[in-house]
């Protein structure tokens, strides 16, 4: 017998100990595909939520070089606003996503006041001269500051902005390096900060520090992958450009020799013209491939775009001698993709299928819903199939098994699918044809009554 449980429960359990609730809130942030900024907001939420640590306000500073810069400030601006917010957040059944949504709105509302004032703050975090709050990062210690007005180590500009006498500074550390500071206070309720609050907030700081560290590493890794792809691209371009250049140079040299027969002149000029067109095509395709990531995905009805591809003269010409079998579910859902790239993605996939399929073969297209919120578009051919070693390389730019082709079709598709949170899957064996599945995030169309 098997009992199944959700990895993360989307709602808080009201009677759970606050340590558990806190861990639950923060761990959800690692699970959800949110941006770095949203995930930092989750951590501030955990610190200020009544079911988490329960501070009134939390502000975040991040280190940039040897400076500490104010990033975001979460919390109510006045007791009236606090009353309203806490009432909303204590509504029975309110879940994690709602709280994050609510706080996101609160932070952007605060752009006018709290966060804007915070973003103007930059502190020197040099070990000898740093003042509170940068002092906490330099010392790598949690600081509980009381009677702040009379504390010589506290920065005056900072005290003017925060406007309270008691607050807690939590350094964000990873691999023993300070990455930032979180400052917490109870500006509205004026309740004193307890040792238990400090312990819990310290735990949050450790998790936040390691989260920022891994998110930064992930960004760097993506950057490096991009650089590696660029390097590969540069190498490929060398080859692609050099061949036409050799031909153009060689046949031009021949033209410059004395007494070239007219027939040879015409032939050489035709070759030179063709090679120049090829250069132009290479440049066009490279530019096209590099442009992909700039478009924003959106939900749209894929029906018209699919019909346009299936009816295009290019597809009709290429499918001659091949049976095309198209079956799409009635009333397609809206899919999440960049609408202008969508048609090209499908056309590229069909192109590959036609190129792989010999005359008399078949290319089948299917469009169907899978689970909830997913739409699958599959293209199956009866062509030569893909061998296992080739399968590993399919999505590498410039890998191709075609005689004429730059190897940018499938990498282009993968980039589009990655950008819109979708997936591409391949099933194939040499000699047995291939099945490509595009899996899009989708949503049902709103019916107008």
């Amino acid at each position: 017998m098997i009992e199944k449980h959700n990895i993360l429960s989307p709602d808080f359990e009201r009677d759970a100990p606050r340590e558990m609730t806190l861990l639950s809130i923060i761990s959800q942030s690692f699970f959800q595909p949110f941006s770095l900024e949203d995930n930092l907001l989750v951590i501030l939420t955990a610190l200020t939520s009544g079911s988490g640590v329960g501070f009134n306000r939390a502000m975040l500073f991040l280190k940039q070089g040897d400076r500490l810069r104010g990033e975001m400030w979460l919390g109510p601006r006045s007791p009236e606003e606090a009353g309203f917010i806490w009432e909303v957040l204590s509504t029975p059944g309110i879940g994690y996503i709602e709280i994050i949504e609510h706080n996101r709105a609160l932070v952007s509302k605060n752009e006018d006041t709290l966060s804007r004032r915070l973003k103007g703050l930059v502190f020197d975090s040099c070990e000898e001269t740093a003042l509170i709050p940068a002092y906490a990062a330099c010392r790598k210690e949690i600081l509980l500051v009381k009677d702040a007005r009379n504390e010589p180590l506290a920065d005056r500009r900072f005290l003017d902005v925060i406007g309270v006498d008691e607050f807690l500074c939590i350094p964000l550390l990873a691999r023993e390096e300070p990455l930032g500071v979180i400052v917490l206070d109870n500006a509205i309720t004026r309740t004193p900060i307890t040792p238990a609050d400090i312990k819990l907030a310290g735990l949050c700081g450790l998790i936040a520090g390691n989260y920022i560290y891994s998110a930064t590493l992930h960004r760097k890794l993506l950057e490096m992958e991009k650089m590696a792809a660029m390097g590969e691209m540069a190498m490929f371009v060398t080859h692609q450009l050099r061949n036409p250049i050799v031909a153009i140079g060689g046949f031009t040299d021949q033209l410059l020799q004395p007494d070239v027969p007219q027939e040879k002149k015409t032939r050489n000029l035709a070759i030179i013209r063709d090679e120049i067109r090829r250069l132009e095509d290479i440049i066009y395709q490279m530019g096209h491939f590099l442009k992909v990531s700039m478009k924003e995905p959106a939900y749209f009805d894929p029906g018209p775009a699919l019909a346009a591809v299936f009816d295009s003269p290019e597809v009709r010409t290429k499918s001659q001698g091949i049976t095309m079998n198209i079956k799409l579910e009635a009333c397609l859902p809206e899919v999440l993709c960049d609408p202008t790239s969508f048609g090209e993605v499908v056309r590229n996939l069909l192109d590959n299928a036609f190129d792989a399929t010999p005359g008399g073969g078949m290319v089948s297209v299917r469009g169907y819903r899978k689970n909830s919120g997913r739409f699958v578009l599959s293209v199956r051919d009866t062509g030569r199939g893909i061998s296992n070693p080739d399968k590993d390389q399919l999505f590498r730019p410039f890998f191709t098994t075609k005689e004429k082709g730059m190897g940018l079709g499938l990498p282009f598709i993968k980039r589009v699918m990655d950008t819109c949170g979708g997936k591409i899957e391949v099933q194939s064996r040499a000699g047995k044809g291939a099945l490509f599945k595009l899996i899009f995030l989708s949503r049902e169309r709103e019916t107008t009554s």
Binding site: T238, R242, V246, A247, G250, Q254, I271, D274
Partner: protein
């Protein structure tokens, strides 16, 4: 008797150019477009020199060289590639010369002359 050169190059225009230019230098050139055709030609004719590209559909130039080394160690080989970087692959060191493709064929012609004379 003219010296015989086997040219392995998958670009049609380059095959034509090299064929014409090397014939003008007094060589008999047989041009093929992939490694399989090259091995078939080698089985039939006693060539004096092989010029091969590296990146080709099917078997690449390095695999071809490895196979030729097993068959006929005595034929000089010139690698003619658009890539500099294959020089780092030690298998290309087995070739007698490595000429990067260029709009001028002077270097290639000079290497051929150096290896097998006119």
């Amino acid at each position: 008797m003219n010296k015989k050169i086997l040219l392995v190059e998958d670009e049609r225009a380059l095959c034509l150019l090299y064929e014409e230019e090397l014939s003008r230098e007094g060589y008999d050139v047989t041009a093929v477009m992939d490694a399989e055709a090259a091995l078939a030609a080698l089985a039939k004719t006693a060539f004096d020199l092989i010029i091969t590209d590296i990146r080709m559909p099917g078997k690449n130039g390095i695999e071809l060289i490895t196979q030729i080394m097993g068959l006929r160690k005595d034929i000089p080989i010139i690698i003619n590639s658009a890539y500099q970087s294959y020089k780092e692959d030690f298998m290309t060191w087995a070739a007698d010369a490595y000429v990067v493709k260029s709009a001028s064929l002077d270097e290639l012609k000079a290497k051929i002359k150096q290896l097998i004379g006119d």
